[in-house]
Symmetry: C2
């Protein structure tokens, strides 16, 4: 482990600590480069944590409809789940994704997408999360997904090891 890695870890750990203490979760989102690329946002509405992917022509996958690429929707749902786990499950380190299963229900139109996440079970090592994405109508989701996260013991630099 280099000194630089240690500094980056301290940096990220302090960002997580700051976000939890202040409730400024967007700062946490901004620390993730991929989140900036797709333009992911954290919303807090009436005590509920939601995530928004603003409309962006770059996210189009099917130029005919036009529809958002499934990969963006899936990636955004994964991202939202990992932020939710980081904030709510309070793991010591960055949660690691074990698996992710996604059902597409409707085409994602070229408009804002909203996501909510439910941590259905939080064990010592694993958290189960359900993720729902919708656009104009929350009762008409465009996709639902579930994910398992490994709650690692520390902000370590070791690779993903599900054992």
């Amino acid at each position: 482990m280099t000194d630089q890695t240690t500094t980056q870890q301290d940096d990220f750990a302090s960002k997580v600590q700051y976000a939890r203490a202040s409730g400024d979760y967007q700062s946490l989102m901004n620390a993730i480069p991929y989140a900036a690329v797709i333009g992911a946002e954290v919303l807090q509405q009436e005590g509920e944590l939601l995530f928004r992917l603003p409309r962006n022509p770059d996210n189009i996958g099917n130029p005919l409809l036009p529809a958002i690429h499934g990969g963006v929707i899936g990636g955004f749902m994964e991202l939202a789940a990992s932020i939710q786990v980081l904030i709510r499950a309070e793991p010591m380190g960055l949660p690691k994704l074990i698996d992710f299963s996604l059902d597409y229900l409707r085409a994602g139109r070229d408009q804002d997408t909203l996501v909510d996440c439910q941590i259905w079970r939080q064990g010592v090592r694993v958290a189960n999360v359900a993720i729902t994405a919708w656009q104009s109508d929350r009762q008409q989701p465009i996709a639902t997904a579930r994910a398992h996260f490994l709650l690692s013991a520390s902000f370590g630099v070791e690779g993903l090891s599900p054992s």
Copy 2:
């Protein structure tokens, strides 16, 4: 259906036709905005179709390792599968993703990622695809996934309807 939509459909349909006839599959990839954002490439090696996601700092999800965001890997694997189906299964329209299940096996490092896709079954309406992603060693995949695609009857503008 507007005239503009019809023109876009004709455009995309002719791009698909051109790519199939010429073997220039990259042109097909380039027609998808999200593919350009993540920088996805089509490779043809010894008659085998592979997909490459070149190393890109924007795709980082875990700034500590650094590791590629799972959402980028998943999204790229989805994209690769849809291009593979478009080329090999030769549906009349753009294949529609029904579901996608992903196991993360190792952290995706900040380097090139390669993907291959196998169409395990192609029915009249549905294709089953297995997708494998690796980096330095093909025998040590970083993720495996499977997807179902609905092979629609035409380059229609209707939404995703799995019936």
